[in-house]
Symmetry: D2
Subunit: 386 residues, 4 copies
C-alpha cells in the first residue's frame, strides 16, 4: 500500500537526519538541535495546527503516522516535535479568538514551539496538589511557582501554566505566558536517561504578569486532562516507532550473525521472538490508529471543546499509553538480550532504544496512576466498560 | 452509544439462555443443545451467509459484535454457532455456483450447521502431512481417512474434507461431503476440558463417494488457510467476550466481598488489576474490529475469492488470535486468584471461564505455529512488516 | 545420588497408586479414597508425628521430599496426606502434655487424620473477623459457628477450631474438638475444580462441648499462623511435584510427537521452554528445601513452641508458597499449550495438572494477602529484609 | 543474625567507596579506579585464592556474601573484583604446580588481577568456532588471534587464552600468558551501557610466545566451562545485590514521597510490589547460596579438578545465572516506573541499576544459549532432571 506523501516526507527526513545519527542524538547536545530547523524545512512543522492559523490542519490519525516514522528514527526528536500539541490544543479550544489568532498564528509563522508547565515536584501526578499560584491584579494575572518538568519550555514561544487560583482551594487556571515574560527562569535542563535529543526543563515563575485575557476558559486541571489526550496517544505512538525499529535492528543483525553455522534469522527461537514482536506491533498500530480516530471524531465536531470538557480523559488515550508503554518495553527488553556482548555496548543501538522507550510508561502519569483512573472512570460506571 | 438491533437481540439471547446456565453448559450434555434451536428462533442463525442464498449477509465486523456477546454468555455456544463460517467461506468462494446454491441455500433454509474435516492426529498443525486421501473414480471422488478434531461434524448438514490427492505428493483437495454420505463414521466425541457446550468429533471416512463437482476449486490447503481467516478472528473474539465476563464477575464479587471492613471494590490493588483488565479489553476490542474490517475490505471485492487465495493467511487473523488468546488467558489467570476458596470451586464461574478461554491459544494452530508463520510470511519479507 | 529409603517407598507408592490413576483421582469419588489406607500400609502415615507419640518424627525437610513425590503422582493425595501437619503442629506445641499424648498417640495408632477449622465465609483470609465463638461454661468450652473450608474434616479424628472468645473483641482460642463430639455437622463437601482426590468441607458447630483442657495454650490466631508455616511450605512443595510431572509429561510427548519430520524433542523452541522449566524447577527445589531447613532449625530447639510464637509467620513460608504457586502456574500454563488439541481434552493429563496447581496460590491465603503480610512484616522493618 | 567479620568489612567498604559515588562509578573513568586499590587495603583482595599461595582460601559461599554486598554498592566494582576467579580457578586446578605457585603467588602478593581471553567476535557464545590459534614451536607456544570481550585484561597480571591448536579441528588449549608478553595489544576498551566502573577490552595476540609449560592441562573449552561455574554464580549474585539495592532505594523514596496525602509506603499497590520484590530476593538469596554450596562441596574434594572436568557446566550455575538475571531485570524494570519523572533522570540511581543489572543475562552466554545447554545436559538425560 502506497504511503501518503507526508509520510514519505517524514520517512525521508528520518533517514537523512535521525537514523545513523544515534551518537549525536544521544549526546545530550544543546537543545534544540539544528535538525529541528531542518524538519521545519519539510513544511511539516506543527503539522496539526489549524488552517485558520495558517497551519496544515492535519488530524491525529495523520499525526500517528508521522510520529511513528519520526520515533522510528529517534523518539526524542519525535517527542520534541509533537509535544506542543498538548499546549496548542488547550489554546485552540479554550483560548479567546484573539489569543488563538495571535499566538497560534505566530507559532505557525515562525515554525516555533511552545510548552505546558504542569507538573510540580511534590505534587507529582496529583495535580490538585500543585502550589503554583495565579492571582488577579486588576486586568493582569500574576503567577508564582516552580514547575518540575516541562519539555521545550526553554525555547518555546509561549508557555501554558497550570496554576491554583490564590485563595481558592479548588479553582485552577491555565494561563498562556509568552516565553519572554519577565520572571520566567529556566532553572535547569534535566539530564534524562533517554530521549536525550529532547530538552526538559525545570522552570520557576516569579511575579510573571500577563493580561487577564491570557487565561484559558475553564478549569485548568480539566483543560490539562483534555490536552493530554492527544499527547498521550502520540507518546504511545513513539513506543510503536521504537518497537518497529527494534524489530528491524534485530532482523539486520540476524542476517549477519550466525549460530551453529546458519544465519540467526533461520533459528527457530529467534523466529518465535520476532513473530511475537510483529504480532504485538500490529496490535499497537491498530490501537494507536483506533484511539486517534476516536479523538478525531470528537475534534471535528463544532462543539469539540465542549465535548472534550465533558469527557475529560479519553479511555482510548489511557489505553493506548498504557498498552504501548508496556508492550514497547517488553519488546525492547527481550531484544536487549539478543545481541550478545555488543548489545551491551554503545556500539549497538539497542541500549538507546531501551532507554528511550522507558519514558512512555513514566511521562504524563505512570501506569499506577492511569490504572486507577481507568478503574474509577471506566470500570466502576458499568455503562462505560468496553 | 446505542447498540445495533442485532446486538441487542444477541444480548437478550445470552441473558436468557446462557448467563446463569453455566452448570448445564459445562455439563457435557448431548450435543447439540436445544438452545441452538432457540438461537435460530432469533432469526440470526448463520448470520453471515449471503443474501443470494437467503441469508442475512452480515459482515465479519458484525460477526465480531455478535460473537463477543455470545461468548460473554458461553464461549462454547459462540463457537458452535460461528464455526461453520470456516466451512461456508470455502464453499462460498471456491464452490461451483450450483454447489453453493444447493448447499448454502439448504443450510439457510434449515438453520443447519456444517463442519470442516482438516486436522489429523499425526499431522497436527502440519496439514501437508495429512494422510486422508481422495481419488477420482470416473465422475466420482472417493475419500478415505481419519480426521481428529472436527467441531459440529456429527450434526452438520455437510462436511468439507481436506484430503491429499491419491498418488500425488503435493496436491490437496477440499471436497464437500454431505453428512448422510455412506462411509462417514463419527468415532467419538472428545471430552474437552472447556467449551463443553460444543461438540468436537473424531470422524473416519471409508470409501465415501461424492460427485466430482463437490471438489472446491483450488489447492485444498490454501483454501483451508483462507477459511481459517474468518474463524481465527472469531475465535479470538470469544476471548474478548470471556475477558469482559471475567471483568464483570470480578466487579460483582467486589461489591459484596469486604476486605478490612471496606468493599473489595475500594481496594487499590483490586482497582489496579481491573484497570489493567479494562485497558487490555479495549485493545482486544479494537484489534478484533480492525482485523474484521480488513477482512471485510477484501470480502466485498468482486474478486474476493482470488484475492484471498493470493494473500492466504491474513496477518490480522494471526495477530488477533495470538493476541486475544494470550491476553484472555492472562486476564482469566489473574482473576482466578481473586475469589478465595470459592473461586477454586465449581460454585464460582471463574473456573469455567479459565478452562473455556484456554482453547483460543490451542485450536486452529497454537502460538508456536502461528509465530513461525508470522515470521516467515510477515517479518522476513521487509515490505510486509507493520 | 541415591535417594533415601523413605523417598523410594513414596515413589513406589506413587507409581502404584497415583500415576496412571488420574481418571479416578479426578473423579470426585467419595472421600477418603481407599488409597489413603494403602499409604498407611507403607508405614509412612503422618510421618512427621513425634516419636514420643509413636510416630516417625521426620523433619520438614524429609516432608518436602515426600510431598514432592506424592504430588508428582497426585497433588490431591499429597494434600490429603500432609495437611494434618497444620493441625498437629498446633497441638504438639501448644496442647497440654495429656492432650498431646492422648490425641496424637491415638492418631498414630489409628493412622488417622485430623483437620483445622479456621476460615469462614465472610472473613475470608482476615481471620480476626471470624464469628465462630467459644465460651466457658464451668469446666467446659462451648463452640458455635460455621466454618467454610476444612480439608479432611469429615473423616478426621479430631478438629482444631479457631474461635473468638465470646464477649471479647480480640481474644481467640484454638480448641481441639474430637470429631465425634455432638453438634458437629458437615454441611457439604465442596466440589473443587482441582485436587479432586481430596475432600474439603463446610462444617457447622452447634453447642459443641469439650473439656476446658482442650483449649490450646496461647492466642488462637497466632497459633494458626504458626501452624500454617509447615503447611504453606508443603503446599508450595506440591507445586514443585506438579511442575516436575508437567516437565516429564512434556518430554514423554516430545518423544512421540513429530514436527516437520523430526521429534518435537529436537525442536529448538520446545527445548528452550523445557530448559526454562528445568531452571525454575531447580530453584523451586532449593527454595522448598531452604525453607524447610529454616523451619527445622527452630523445630528442634527445646523452646520451639515459644520461638514459633515469637516469630509467627516465617518469611520462608510466605516466600515459598508465593514463589512456587506463581512458578508452578507459569510452567503448567505454558505446558498447557504444548499438546495441541489432545491437550485440551481429558485424554491428556495436562488439564488436570493445570487445575491442580491453581490451588497453591489460593489456599491458606492468596498472594495479595501474602504480599501485604510480607511487606508489613519483612520489608518495613529494615533489619528483617533479606 | 550477626554477620561474619568479612561481610561487615565489605559492607563498610561499600558504604565508604561505592554508595553515593554513583556519578563517578558511572562515568566511565579510566580503569582501574583507585578504589580497587583501597579494596585491597581491606585485606580481602582476591579472597578466594588458596592459602597455599598466601591467599585467604575463602569458599564460594563466602564469595556470594561478599559479592552481594559489593554489588549492592556497585555491580561494576563487584564484577571487577571477583571476575578473576574465572581465570584463577582454571589455573588452580589445571596449571602445573610450578605455574600455580608462581602466578597465583605473585597475584596474591601484588593484590593483582588477571583475565580470561575467551570469546571472539564471530564465534559469540559458540566457542568451538574460535579462530585464535596456538602452535608449538619447540618448547614454546605461539599464540595468534583476536579476542572480543575480556574484563580486566588491560591491567591483569596474566591472561588465560583459549585457543584452537593449529592444524587440529577439535583440540583447544587454555594457555597462561603474562600480560607483559610481547605481542599483546589492547585494541580498545568497550564503552558499555552499564557496569561502567569495570573495564572490558578487545585484545589481539600477535605471535605471543610463552613456555609450553604455560598450557593448562586438559581441553581448553572444557576448562573454560569449569571456570565459568564460579563466575556465573557470582555474576548471578550481583543481580541479587542490585535487587536489594533497588528495594531499599524504593523504600527510601516511599518514605518521602506522598500520594493522596499519605506516604507512598502506606499505599497498597506499592506494598504489593515491594512484597513481591522481597519474596523474589529471598528466593535469589537461597538459590545463590545453594549453588555456591554445591560448588564448594566439589571444590573441597581432593579430586576437585577431575570431578569438575567430569561434570563440566554445573546445573546450579546455569540455574542461578538465568534465574537471577531474569528476576533482577524484572525487579529493576518494575522499580524503574516507580519514581516518576525523577526516575527517568540521572538524578535518581534507578537508571544506573537498571543498566547495570542488564549484563547478568548477557555476559558469559545469554539465556537462549543457557536454556539450550540446560535442555541437552539436564533435561534429556532423565537421571539428571531435578
Amino acid at each position: 500500500m502506497r504511503q501518503p506523501e507526508y509520510v514519505r516526507t517524514v520517512q525521508s527526513f528520518a533517514r537523512r537526519e535521525l537514523i545513523g545519527q544515534e551518537k549525536l542524538l544521544d549526546s545530550f547536545a544543546d537543545a534544540p538541535l539544528p535538525l529541528y530547523g531542518r524538519f521545519a524545512d519539510t513544511g511539516l512543522a506543527n503539522w496539526w495546527l489549524a488552517k485558520e492559523h495558517g497551519g496544515l490542519g492535519m488530524s491525529l490519525e495523520d499525526s500517528v503516522r508521522i510520529v511513528a516514522e519520526l520515533a522510528y528514527g529517534d523518539a526524542g526528536a519525535a517527542f520534541t516535535l509533537f509535544i506542543p500539541v498538548l499546549t496548542t490544543s488547550m489554546v485552540a479550544w479554550y483560548g479567546s479568538e484573539e489569543l488563538r489568532g495571535e499566538q497560534l498564528g505566530r507559532m505557525v509563522a515562525d515554525n516555533a514551539s511552545c510548552a505546558t508547565l504542569g507538573s510540580e515536584h511534590d505534587a507529582g501526578s496529583e495535580l490538585a496538589r500543585i502550589t503554583t499560584t495565579v492571582r488577579r491584579d486588576g486586568d493582569t494575572l500574576v503567577l508564582n511557582g516552580n514547575k518540575a518538568f516541562s519539555t521545550n519550555a526553554d525555547f518555546g514561544q509561549f508557555l501554558v501554566v497550570i496554576a491554583r487560583v490564590e485563595g481558592s482551594a479548588s479553582e485552577y487556571l491555565a494561563v498562556l505566558v509568552p516565553r519572554e515574560t519577565p520572571g520566567i527562569t529556566v532553572d535547569k535542563r534535566w539530564e534524562m536517561i533517554g530521549l536525550r535529543s529532547s530538552g526538559t526543563y525545570q522552570v520557576s515563575l516569579t511575579d510573571c504578569r500577563v493580561p487577564a485575557s491570557h487565561a484559558l476558559r475553564g478549569n485548568g486541571l480539566r483543560l490539562l486532562e483534555v490536552g493530554l489526550n492527544a499527547s498521550r496517544i502520540l507518546i504511545a505512538t513513539t513506543a510503536l516507532g521504537i518497537a518497529r525499529r527494534v524489530r528491524d535492528v534485530c532482523m539486520d543483525y540476524a542476517k549477519v550473525k550466525t549460530v551453529k553455522g546458519a544465519p540467526l534469522a533461520s533459528n527457530a527461537v529467534f523466529a518465535a521472538k520476532l513473530g511475537q514482536f510483529e504480532m504485538l506491533i500490529e496490535v499497537m498500530t491498530n490501537q494507536c490508529l483506533a484511539a486517534a480516530r476516536e479523538y478525531d471524531a470528537i475534534a471535528v465536531r463544532p462543539d469539540a471543546g465542549e465535548e472534550f470538557l465533558r469527557v475529560g480523559t479519553l479511555k482510548s488515550a489511557l489505553t493506548t499509553k498504557m498498552f504501548c508503554g508496556q508492550t514497547g518495553w517488553q519488546i525492547a527488553s527481550t531484544a536487549s538480550e539478543m545481541f550478545g556482548g555488543i548489545g551491551y555496548s554503545h556500539e549497538a543501538v539497542i541500549g538507546k532504544l531501551l532507554r528511550d522507550v522507558r519514558y512512555v510508561s513514566i511521562v504524563e502519569a505512570g501506569d499506577d496512576v492511569l490504572r486507577e483512573l481507568m478503574f474509577s472512570r471506566y470500570v466502576v460506571p458499568v455503562s462505560k466498560r468496553s
